[in-house]
Amino acid sequence: MKIWTSEHTFNHPWETVAQAAWRKYPNPMTPSIIGTDVVERKVVDGVLHTHRLVQSKWYLPKWTHKIIGTAKSCFASERSVVDPSKRQMILKTVNLTFCRHISVDEIIYYEPHPKDPTKTLLRQEASVTVHGVPLSHYMEDMVTSNISMNAGKGRLGLEWVIGRINAEVKGIAETAAKSTDDLIMTTRRSLDDMTESARKSMDEISAQAAKHMHI
């Protein structure tokens, strides 16, 4: 088993980051996430519980295909809790498609930074276990480095979404008279725009992201 952990501080309040976390996909930095669906969602004692199905494409090297299959599209199950009174958001993800051979468990915490509550601390832990296949040690290394790379991109992606939300909030303030319908339409349109720009610039940005990442 390989375990990977990471921390990152966002210079934004927890409320902004939590909103952005729901709207994280699509973003140009993580084109590998191709779909999300809410399977279950409820509010219990002021805490929002959500179960989502996340569909992604993993670009693993070709030599792994014979071992684990090409797995064109993978599914992961993500369970999360959001507690506004504690200002805490926790997301736990397990993958489904590779279950026979590879288990990837990931947990993400978004909490106010202990030293500066106007900032948000992201803590991320992932464990990778490969069993029942040859070269499992190498496979674990590779999947772990894949996660580490994706986490870097995920952070950039979230910053990008926060930028959009802040711009939107500004826009909303300027046209305060807008009805909810208009707002929903705008959101919808901006989601479409995001998908479009994601498609256009994903190569360019992921190349840049790779250059700037220090993990």
């Binding site: 399977v39 509010v43 959101t187």
Partner: protein
């Protein structure tokens, strides 16, 4: 962001827009009443469940009771 069921994309878009509004404007401000998006959520859910059945995604595998709040519990993985 797409739904796993192509037919559900439009419903998902409507629901997500409603949810994002509810989350930032109500839930984060202390209002726990989630009836605002309930009607659209119901229709969207029906669509997703159907799409999952069609694509043979087994909910059994991902279903576990999280109302216990035990986040360390792992679903059973090893089949081989």
């Amino acid at each position: 962001m797409n739904s796993l069921g192509e037919d559900c994309n439009e419903l998902k878009r409507k629901y997500d827009a409603c949810f994002n509004l509810w989350f930032s404007e109500r839930f984060l401000k202390g209002d726990n009443d989630d009836s605002m998006c309930a009607p659209i959520f119901k229709v969207y859910q029906e669509c997703v469940k159907k799409a999952m059945e069609e694509q043979k995604i087994e909910l059994r595998e991902i279903e576990a009771d999280y109302s216990t709040g035990d986040y360390n519990e792992k679903p059973e993985h090893s089949k081989s």
